[in-house]
Subunit: 345 residues, 2 copies
DNA sequence: TTGCCGTCCGTAAACGTTTACGGAACTATG
DNA sequence: CATAGTTCCGTAAACGTTTACGGACGGCAA
């Protein structure tokens, strides 16, 4: 005899009463409820997840889909950990559990979604590493599975999404550098075709154009989003006939490699070239400190959770005005890496 | 009508046959099997996870329990992503899916384990952030849930574990530094009471003793396992009346902050002080490159998976000689941060 | 007393699968 | 033709819960 039956047998009451007692339903004597709860801890009873969710049609689990293997996401080393923390702060209020659905780098994310998620594994989903064209979005929308994406996509099924404000960052960075006299400004973009690359490059181009400047193709650097990628960018940049006087780094960890390659060439950020990047815990500990754009990842996680819940009928009442589509602003943290002023001729 | 019934109705055959056809059971005509599979994709049928696992008593899911929030484990996203990659390489062969069970930093890991895992959520578990005394181990052992821990614990229920060879690292690092003439050698340990701190400190002490040297208490530095922690260590170290001539860093990211604080004081690793640390993707990109201990995290992940599977009756046949308890060796990567030789008086 | 209401509890169905069992139809063998 | 064996399929039970429904019981008012 196992499960709730064992508990019922042990107390000599029916399983219905046991279930009601455990779940805080009203139709049960407080005295018996106490006995049930006591027996549950005594016998170490824990309700079976499959049985419960089969009956209820709900799992109380939210999945955060992400890809494993390194060199994929280009987020800093603690990026996801911080976001998770915020997401969970919200979910905890509703007894929802967050699990990370780890899609192997060997498997197509679309296959993975069909295989794992569509089986009713989770009540809702958060999608990361959103692609420019992302079939996952259509798939989930068709099946009415609540979800929110971290990152915009061209695929539009009316889904909620949140994203970092790369446009604001592009605009502010370009304006700032131009104001300091820079005319030849390089930018970076991810090595793959994530949407953010297009967004960022496009906005940089327009921001430059507003100042009467052109974004030159050979000043757009692609790289893997890690230290080695940043190192390579700096090498390529320094090898140019006429190197740029400033650069905006779109990824977080590439700054470390970028700094190193410069250092080896005797070039110093802030003195010989202006560098603006993205915040990461190491940004303050570079020499000189990196001028960068920062946001609260925990707050972003909170917003993600609230947006998702507002798309779930069971919870939407609690979040009437959660954002549906929103770019998340980043604030400029002044370092010294961009204090280089272009000498006026 | 939903699920397998719908499929059966659509094909005008029984649900039993549909199930057998989908699961590759022998007692089914090849012709009907084809029709079933075709109809399944046509109708977008995906078997329900709860129903299946309720009946089978198995979920085909393996959980990797970890804690969210930063500044906890000292391991970042890239650490786990690399390990996951290896784990999944093995699991894929057995149609097992890996999910990360994210325990909020707000919640006690033991409560979390009871709440989520004990409900039959996963067929097996990998525990990280193992504590020196870890009730989770007893809990799982009592319930006969297969698991393996990443990290040793004093709690011994005969469970399998894998761990990094911190003892080998301690021994090699100390020997190396002593051979280079160092007598005052500092070491670091995590801020909390994870077992690795005890193991590492203890072995360093014994390694020093073998050379007739003592490990002085004020040369053992505790810190949070991030850049800020490393920064603080360097500041404290330089403030000593008689600073050490060498240091061994046990965490990965603390090297960045450590370097920075030294740099601000005009102290250069490799020239004024010898530094040995742990490998991380940024280790090569520090100036000078960090001499550090490295291991293949992907291989570690593979070993973790194999060890877990060998503890699961359904799979143990495939892995007769997977390691049960094993420390995973690290190799020394020579940089220039420890090339400082103590001048002989 | 009768009737009604409220409290508490037991019964049984339902969720979506898998699988043991048995049987129908057909083939092969004597 | 009778029998045995093979191939394929349908039936129904089972997994562990939750919950709608109804009933037993006691208290209270009329």
């Amino acid at each position: 005899m196992k499960g709730i039956r064992r508990l019922a047998q042990h107390l000599d009451i029916s399983i219905g009463t046991v279930s009601r007692a455990l779940n805080g339903k009203p139709d049960v004597n407080e005295e018996t409820r106490k006995r049930v709860l006591q027996a549950a801890t005594d016998l170490g009873y824990v309700p079976n997840q499959s049985g419960r969710s089969l009956r209820q049609g709900t799992t109380n689990i939210i999945g955060f889909m992400m890809q494993t293997g390194t060199e994929i996401t280009g987020q800093g080393d603690t990026f996801f950990m911080s976001v998770f923390d915020g997401v969970q702060a919200v979910f905890a209020r509703h007894k929802l559990d967050l699990v990370a659905l780890l899609c192997s780098s060997q498997e197509d994310p679309n296959d993975y979604l069909r295989r794992v998620v569509a089986r009713g594994f989770a009540d809702g989903l958060i999608l990361s590493a959103t692609q420019r064209d992302d079939p996952r979005i259509e798939f989930l929308a068709e099946r009415n599975i609540p979800f929110v994406t971290l990152g915009r996509s061209l695929t539009d099924a009316g889904q909620p999404w949140l994203d970092l404000d790369f446009e604001g960052m592009a605009q502010a960075a370009i304006d700032r550098l131009v104001a300091r006299g820079h005319r030849r400004i390089a930018i970076t973009r991810p090595h793959d075709d994530t949407n953010l690359g297009y967004i960022f490059v496009d906005r940089c181009r327009r921001a430059l154009a507003a100042h009467g400047l052109a974004l030159e193709e050979d000043l757009i650097f692609r790289s893997t989003p890690n230290e080695a990628g940043g190192y390579q960018i700096a090498r390529d940049l320094l090898a140019l006939e006429e190197p740029p006087t400033a650069i905006v780094l779109i990824n977080e960890t590439i700054a470390i490699g970028f700094y190193q390659a410069l250092s080896e060439a005797g070039v110093k950020p802030g003195r010989d070239i202006a560098v603006i990047g993205r915040y990461s815990p190491h940004a303050h500990f570079l020499s000189p400190p990196l001028t960068c754009f920062r946001l609260s990842l925990r707050d972003l996680g909170i917003a993600l959770a609230e947006t998702l819940l507002s798309a779930m009928p069971a919870f939407s009442d609690h979040y009437p005005d959660a954002p549906v589509n929103r770019v998340w602003p980043m604030e400029l943290v002044e370092g010294e890496s961009d204090s280089f002023l272009v000498p006026q001729r």
